[in-house]
Amino acid sequence: MKDEKIRRFSSAEIFLHWTYAVLFLALGCTGTLILIYRIFEVEIVRYEILSLTHRIAGVSLIIVLGQTAILSIFVKGFGQLWHTFRQLLRWILSDIVWLAKVPFNMLFKRVTLPPAERFNPGQKLHLLVIFTVLPGFSISGLVIILVPGTLAAWAIHLICFIPTALFLLLHLFLSMINPQTRKSLPAIFTGFISTEYARQHHSLWIETREIKPHGSHVSWRALTLTITASAIIIVFAIRYYGYERAQENIRKLISSQGTTSILPGRLAKSHTDDPQLKYCIICHQSLLKPSSDACLSCHDILQQRIAQQSGFHGKLTGQCLSCHTEHAGEDADIRNFDTTQFDHNLANYELQGKHSKLSCQKCHLVKENEDEDAAAQTKYIGLNFGKCTNCHSDPHLGRFKKACTACHSEDGWKEPYLVFYHNKDTEFEIDQIHSYLACASCHKDIEPPLFKPLPTTCEECHDNHDNIEKQNHGVARRIVSKPDLHTGHATCTECHQTDKQRPKPADYANTCLSCHDIIQQRMAQQSGFHGKLTGQCLACHPEHAGEDADILNFDHNLANYELQGKHSKLSCQKCHLVKEDEDAAAQTKYIGLNFGKCTYCHSDPHLGRFKKACTACHSEDGWKEPYLVFYHNKDTEFAIDQIHSHLACASCHKDIEPPLFKPLATTCEECHDNIEKISHGIASRIVFKPDPHAGRVTCTRCHQTDKQRQKPADYANECKSCHNYEYEQLYHNWNMAFELRKSQAKKLLSRLHQISASKASQIVERITEAEYTGFHNIQLANTLWDQILSEFPNDIRDLEGYPKNESE
């Protein structure tokens, strides 16, 4: 029997269904994928593509529905759609019964459903839902596109999604899978269904007579298979994704009250760390864009700045969001700050002088948290800049009370930018006596130059300088005597005028007589002994030369002490003018003098430092060469080895005059303390890290003591003797590197000599330092050479073809 067909859907209905279906499926798929991306953080298709597709499809759907509505007015075929809608929206009593019976019909075949019209109540219900959610979707969707960040729109969009998805799945199941109902599927392509189907499912439409449909409308097997297949797919998807991760994300979804489903991206780390920012509503509003007030309620420094119109932000107008974006991921730098284009003078702190040449990070890299990486720690707002010491360490260790700017300017710390007048800026005025001294003559104790404020009285400095103060009070190195008569009577400045450089004895002539007024009187009257004299007081008085003419012819060899050598040429008083006790005046005493030891008459210029008898080295014919009998290797504890053999005595014994030949230290480090310092990283101008050999490897490990004037080649094997054979080449490389720098420096120096002799002589000293630093501290030597080469002015560097020094 040929099956009869009956027309169920008109062309307009089919057209409307499919245009709607295609766009709706696209919206459903992209919407679902967006939700999966947000909740489970799985990006199956790129988010940007999903979002764009979803928006285009949404807008298209609105346009298509609108166009169809317009078409329905002018085109006859489409006008019938209104009739279709009326059919769909018209509910009769049996429809309610039908809906109530559907669940039982699924369970028991015996339960029959009431007859249905062209659209059964399920289809009517579906359309009712669509009619309800369509305005919700459209309006909230348009708001989402036009006013980003409105919470209410997102909530409505999400709420509409749930019933829509359920009905769509049911619709797909019934039309494509369920065997009883999928028979009607061709109708939506062709418009026709079989009469038999129509009778069974839509009897009210096809027949006037009621025919009760019998049998179940839904196949249990199909439903179970579909649900099982879906479940398997979901289980595999979760397994592939990871149970724990899925659980974690669902827990997050629940604990955030569903908000992770509309979260467009993770917040920046600084915002997620703040527990106050847990809820969207803190920043967002229900119906409007997120406002700047929400940002500023936390960023109070900025709020203040904007209110006061100070700083960079104070000069800006507009919303925070026009520059800053959020939800760009945990690691995003939402400051969106282009340091290369930024005009710092718009900020509160105007950059001047050297400040304007610094890289941003020099000041703005603030390490508050050691764990974070450096890039995350730039801080542009809220830096303290009121004091220099907020950024700069104080090399003077806080000793100066005046502001830094009293001496320094932003153009540079050092000369020629240093503005400092000793007479004005310190409590010690530099008088003529002190005017020729170098800074380091007084400020010598501490490196780097801290310029510790020194005492301002004469005695406090000249205490350990020439021991004047101590000697005045009778405190000499070896003896304690009576204080000088002048002590306490006269201040230093009573005799020493401060307005004269380098005074000579003649300058003190009137000074003595201003106190010794009797002598002054006699000299004025030309009476008495002094009255017959001319010349300066100091010419006679420190010496008290004796003049006992009576014993000029005395044969001293008749006495117990035979005069030999130079003793025989002395005046009597040289030995015989003695003081019996402290209080007595000096008297000549010829009998009973002690003469057993040299030191009864002679003071020991070596200050008792030598334990041997004086005659071990000296004879009565004279103290000095050629009468001196002395062998360094035998008579001292320091044997002169080959390295030291070509040196003059004064090369080592140079500190004290007259040459006391103080026994010097015998270790290498104590004399060569410059090398010792250098190897520990202490150079004249900088402090550097110590060489690892310092304090660990002895000098003689490399310097053989049996060779004079050693050259670099003599050390060629020393490095590799501890390390390995590669170090022979490495030693050679460093030698060449140092030689190259040295020749560069010398070349530049010869040119500098013609321009500035003083600057050149400074550099000569530094070249010497760099030369002897060498292998004693390779890295320091390298740094010193670099510094030296950078000190030469650019015009000289230019002449020799060296690159210009950028810092200049």
């Binding site: 990006e43 890290k689 660990r696 390995n724 490389n733 460093w734």
Partner: protein
């Protein structure tokens, strides 16, 4: 047709594997590219001295700003061929001792273990004899290797056994969806960590062994180096260990009774498997002797604790 669409999709998403198909004698991948799949190995290497062999500021200074070319043979080596000495790379020197320096052999990315995945995105070579041999390390670490070779004991550990600790894990880790799918089918194998650490991460007891014999107010310590290289090892740079001896009395108060620096340059390094004797005066109520061995890195001033042993007094 579906198959061809599937393949197109697969290859489109595999765009990041493109470099792996290019491995040849002269064109080789950067460490970052290796690290896209060998994530854990890459991260270990990144923390190791090998990664900073070229870029670290000490090396830059020690070579006078890279002007001493001889050093680069080992600090930025070309992919090595088994029998020839290392040669400096002309490109990408910043990577130091990088992945391909060791693992690119004859156009294959090679190692000691069989391929573990179903997919081999690059040519793979297997050569356990080469990679498990101390001599492989010894081509650069030649001083250590000579010292190690001279030690004659039966169960001598190779360089890799201590300085590349074993770990069981997958060869690769994934970051993307497709790569996760590929990794999911890989199985875990016992392999080596690429930390190349000079010192152990935790203080260890078996570096040195100590005996303490009391004689009156003195104790005689016998300190034996259990390692097949001297303590400290290495002959590049200046390596210093600090050996501290503490006496601990019944109230557990520690008193330092001796401290000594061990360094080759000071002729105080302990030779492999040799013992030194050290007599020290101890307080009368000493119960324990505690021996601390620390590595002093003079560059950063950080101290690594190597071992900390309590020795009862006999």
């Amino acid at each position: 047709m579906f198959i061809s669409i599937g393949l197109v999709v697969l290859f489109a998403s595999c765009a990041s594997f493109e470099h792996l198909t290019m491995v040849r004698e002269q064109i080789f991948p950067h460490a970052v590219q290796c690290g896209k799949c060998h994530v854990e190995i890459y991260n270990e290497w990144l923390q190791s001295d090998h990664a900073s062999a070229y870029t670290n500021p000490n090396f830059r200074q020690a070579t006078d700003d890279y002007s001493f070319e001889d050093c680069l043979n080992c600090h930025a080596p070309e992919p090595t061929v088994a029998d020839t000495p290392p040669v400096a790379r002309s490109v990408d020197r910043d990577e130091g001792v990088t992945c391909v320096s060791c693992h690119l052999q004859e156009g294959k990315l090679s190692g000691p273990i069989e391929p573990t995945g179903n997919v081999a995105p690059h040519p793979i070579g297997v050569n356990p004899h080469l990679y498990e041999d101390s001599g492989f390390c010894g081509r650069c670490h030649n001083g250590d290797f000579d010292e190690w070779r001279a030690v004659k004991i039966t169960d001598k550990k190779s360089c890799q056994q201590c300085h590349m600790p074993p770990i069981t894990r997958k060869m690769t880790q994934a970051t993307g969806v497709i790569s996760k799918l590929i990794v999911a089918f890989e199985h875990e194998v016992s392999m080596k960590r690429h930390t190349f650490s000079m010192a152990p991460s935790e203080p260890q007891d078996d570096i040195i062994s100590i005996e303490a014999k009391r004689g009156g107010s003195f104790v005689t310590l016998t300190i034996k180096n259990n390692l097949p290289h001297s303590l400290p090892g290495g002959d590049f740079g200046f390596r210093v260990l600090v050996l501290q001896i503490l006496a601990i009395d019944s109230k557990e108060n520690p008193i330092r009774i001796g401290q000594r620096e061990l360094a080759k340059e000071m002729a105080s390094a302990i030779q492999p498997l040799e013992a030194i004797d050290w007599q020290l005066k101890i307080p009368p109520d000493t119960v324990f002797i505690r021996v601390k061995l620390q590595r002093l890195s003079y560059e950063e001033n950080d101290i690594v604790n190597l071992t900390d042993i309590k020795v009862p007094l006999q």
